[in-house]
């Protein structure tokens, strides 16, 4: 069997639950850490980014409207499917990041566990961040966290799977939808993750994944009127301030976490909090 020719995969974008090529028709070569050619990935464009925002907006009402229990189960299901693809992820992470198999295994295991951790948050966020407000008057007042909306996520450039999962999971756990620009040079684990999402119960459009040049696509998302928030984690240093300035045009929430973030450390709630709004509701009390 050793002389069998393997079936090579075409790596495409993931938008609205489908796997289109870039509308631009462009692709770019992806190599391993040593520079050996691995595959051609789709090189996403401004139009792809806009299509992804439309898909994310379309999915928002449904995803944010599901019960927290349901969202938790859908996300847990993703972890189940991730576990089934564990060996594939280990191979891809090892190749993409140039780490030994043992290290890759540890990164993949942490990534899957991270997904489970966030899946478990869906139905606890409101209890932990919400409140009943003891106002000085005959009113019942309560505050509850709600998802911000469509989040543009610039995924970490180095940590191709653990970092990616650490930035996507908190965004969607609370009911946001997102457009993710993957690591530019290490996109293959992200494309495999999109296949996992497509074969789990995550509705199309909740996560949209674009491969390509971060610096080319990110400005269109930062200035897009229908994007509510921006995670700068994977943004190149040279364009971070410009992206923030663009984001100010529509008062986007901006998460400024640095590219140097260590994703092996157990997270706190800050990535969840970054993409939540607080809604306070009042009603009079009386007979």
């Amino acid at each position: 069997m050793s002389d069998r020719i393997t079936v090579a995969k075409t790596y495409k974008l993931y938008i609205g639950g489908k796997f289109p090529r870039s509308e631009s028709g462009r692709s770019y070569p992806v190599t391993d850490a040593k520079g050996t050619f691995l595959a051609n990935a789709a090189q996403g464009s401004r139009k792809d980014a806009r299509d992804a925002v439309s898909a994310a907006r379309k999915a928002f009402a449904g995803w944010s409207g599901t019960t927290a229990y349901n969202r938790g189960q859908v996300l847990y299901r993703v972890a189940e499917v991730l576990e089934g693809r564990r060996e594939q992820f280990i191979a891809e992470v090892a190749t993409s990041e140039g780490v030994p198999a043992k290290k890759a295994q540890s990164l993949v295991d942490t990534a899957i566990d991270r997904w489970v951790w966030y899946a478990g948050w869906t139905d606890k966020i409101a209890a932990v961040l919400g409140s009943s407000n003891p106002v000085a008057g005959p009113y019942f007042s309560f505050s509850t966290p709600e998802p911000t909306g469509v989040v543009a996520v610039l995924a970490p450039q180095q940590s191709s799977l653990l970092g990616l999962i650490s930035v996507i999971a908190p965004v969607i756990a609370s009911g946001n939808t997102c457009v993710v620009i993957t690591s530019q040079d290490r996109p293959l684990p992200a494309i495999t993750l999109s296949e996992v999402l497509a074969t789990s119960d995550v509705p199309g459009g909740v996560v949209n994944i674009i491969t390509g040049r971060t610096a080319e696509i990110a400005p269109w998302l930062a200035s897009h009127g229908d994007v509510n928030a921006l995670d700068l984690t994977g943004a190149p240093e040279s364009i971070r301030a410009d992206l923030e300035r663009s984001a100010a045009g529509t008062v986007k929430r901006v998460l400024r976490n640095k590219p140097s973030e260590d994703f092996t450390v157990t997270p706190d709630m800050s990535r969840l909090r970054a993409f939540l709004e607080t809604k306070t509701v009042w009603h009079p009390m009386g007979v």
């Binding site: 409140s131 106002v135 971070r240 400024r256 800050s270 607080t278 809604k279 009042w282 009603h283």
Partner: protein
């Protein structure tokens, strides 16, 4: 309408001084900026001359705040900070009448509002946050959350003292020091608050108050040694500030404009709803970022409701802010009055039907008679732009889904109102409205325990409650 004899509050209570200085490093000092004259918008007379900060004064104030932070405030146990903040709350209560009268003189708002809302709520913000100072470890941000450092705060003219309280109280409770710029047209009560802070013996530099115009605000938020910026004001300026802070590590919270929908269903108790609508748009002359400036009324009751509304609005007394009978006071400035007039003219030009109360208006000062536009469509400027004045736009809807769609059809998202007797519908609506505050069968309620702030272009970050502490903690 019944005739009422005037019942004016004495302006002597305000202890108005001919001139006011800025408050830096625990002392009242002359600023080196061009002094400004603050006027009474109800009479256009000059109330006082106020010294303003120059760029170098901003730097001096920030340095004072930094010193106070490094040497005193960040090292002080929360339990000790708390006692200072409690003192401020008590002094505001003690000097409540003085503050209320001064606020009405400088801002133009009716005395019944400054007396019953602005001043007591300002005191309650200090009292509430004082208690947090030694309990921050219980706020959900880890066992020992740290302050940010020096907070630069810029506030608007619509609730001068109350906004100062909203800004200063949580900043101090969390262990930050403050440089605050009050609005150009309403600096006086913030400077009396400075006097209170001095009398409370707060360590010098913990709170600094520097009057001035927008350039002072820009210098403050742009100062390299400011760690935290909090701004309340227009969305346009908020965007400029957010852009200005791009690429820095300054933490930012913004509380910006709004175009709130106040939604009335056909089963709502109409008389009660009318009171809520009136409160929603005519409270504080409509100078409220969360004002219910878009009335969405279910089509089947629209005519009846608008008729009742006209009758009720006709009884509003517009005039002397110091008169205890006054319902609607003076527009804060000539500029704001011009903006309101311009936008209402655009509504007429675009085909909305104007109804304006025939109430008498004073001969002097900046006044605008309460106005209701009906036949407003969503495309009209009056339905899209923040008016910040006593002007209501009436639109209609047929189904709850349509009400939600129209309410959310705005880049803003600060507040919303819903009036219906049906509990399940209230909760259904509240869940779908993309707004930071939803008042159901009430409107314009504020409390330090209840987080307040916007979605979308109404800003980010919250003020009040446990959630509000995040804005002043390094988390």
């Amino acid at each position: 309408m019944w005739e009422y004899a005037p019942a004016p509050e004495s302006r002597d209570i305000a202890n108005l001084k001919p001139s006011y200085k800025m408050f830096v490093d625990g002392k009242f000092v002359e600023g080196t900026g061009e002094p400004l004259k603050t006027i009474n918008p109800a009479t256009e007379e000059v109330l006082a001359e106020v010294s303003t900060a120059s760029q170098s004064d901003v730097d001096i104030a920030v340095k004072a705040a930094r010193r106070a932070y490094d040497r005193v405030w960040s090292k002080m146990p929360g339990s000790e900070r708390a006692k200072y903040i409690y003192r401020i709350a008590r002094q505001i209560q003690e000097r409540g009448r003085e503050l209320a009268v001064l606020e009405s003189l400088d801002n133009g708002k009716p005395i019944k509002e400054s007396r019953d809302v602005d001043v007591p709520t300002a005191a309650s913000h200090f009292f509430y946050h004082a208690g947090w100072a030694d309990k921050l470890g219980y706020a959900g941000y880890g066992p020992d959350p740290k302050p940010l450092g020096v907070a630069g705060q810029v506030i608007p003219w619509n609730f001068p003292l109350l906004m100062a309280a909203w800004k200063i109280a949580p900043a101090l409770a969390c262990g930050n020091t403050v440089v605050l710029k009050p609005a150009e047209t309403t600096p006086l009560t913030a400077l009396v608050l400075a006097d209170i802070i001095q009398q409370c013996d707060l360590p010098p530099g913990v709170v600094n108050i520097i009057p001035g115009a927008g350039d002072v605000g820009a210098a403050l938020v742009g100062h390299a040694d400011v760690d935290k910026v909090a701004f309340t004001g227009s969305t346009d300026v908020g965007k400029v500030i957010q852009g200005q802070l791009a690429g820095t590590s300054k933490k930012l919270t913004l509380e910006l404009g709004g175009k709130a929908a106040n939604i009335v269903f056909d089963d709502a108790p109409l008389d009660q709803a009318v009171e809520g609508i009136v409160n929603g748009i005519f409270f504080n002359q409509g100078h409220v970022c969360c004002a219910g400036s878009r009335l969405l009324v279910q089509e089947s009751i629209a005519d009846e409701l608008v008729e009742k509304l006209h009758a009720r609005v006709s009884t509003l007394r517009v005039g002397d802010p110091l008169d205890k009978n006054t319902d609607v006071g003076a527009i804060n400035s000539r500029e704001q009055l011009a903006k309101i007039k311009e936008l209402t003219e655009s509504a007429e030009a675009e085909g909305a039907t104007r109804w304006t109360s025939s109430c008498p208006l004073p001969d002097k000062g900046f006044f605008f008679a309460p106005t209701v536009f009906s036949g407003v469509s969503q495309a009209m400027r009056i339905a899209r732009e923040e008016i910040f004045g006593p002007v209501l736009s009436v639109l209609t809807f047929r189904t709850p889904e349509e009400a939600v769609a129209k309410a959310n059809n705005t880049p803003y998202g600060l507040s919303a109102g819903v009036w219906t007797e049906k509990g399940s519908r209230i909760l259904w609506m509240a869940q779908r409205m993309r707004a930071g505050v939803v008042w159901s069968n009430t409107f314009n309620r504020f409390d330090p325990t209840a987080p307040f702030g916007g979605y979308q272009e109404s800003g980010f970050g919250r003020e009040g409650g446990r959630t509000g502490l995040e804005a002043y903690l390094d988390v």
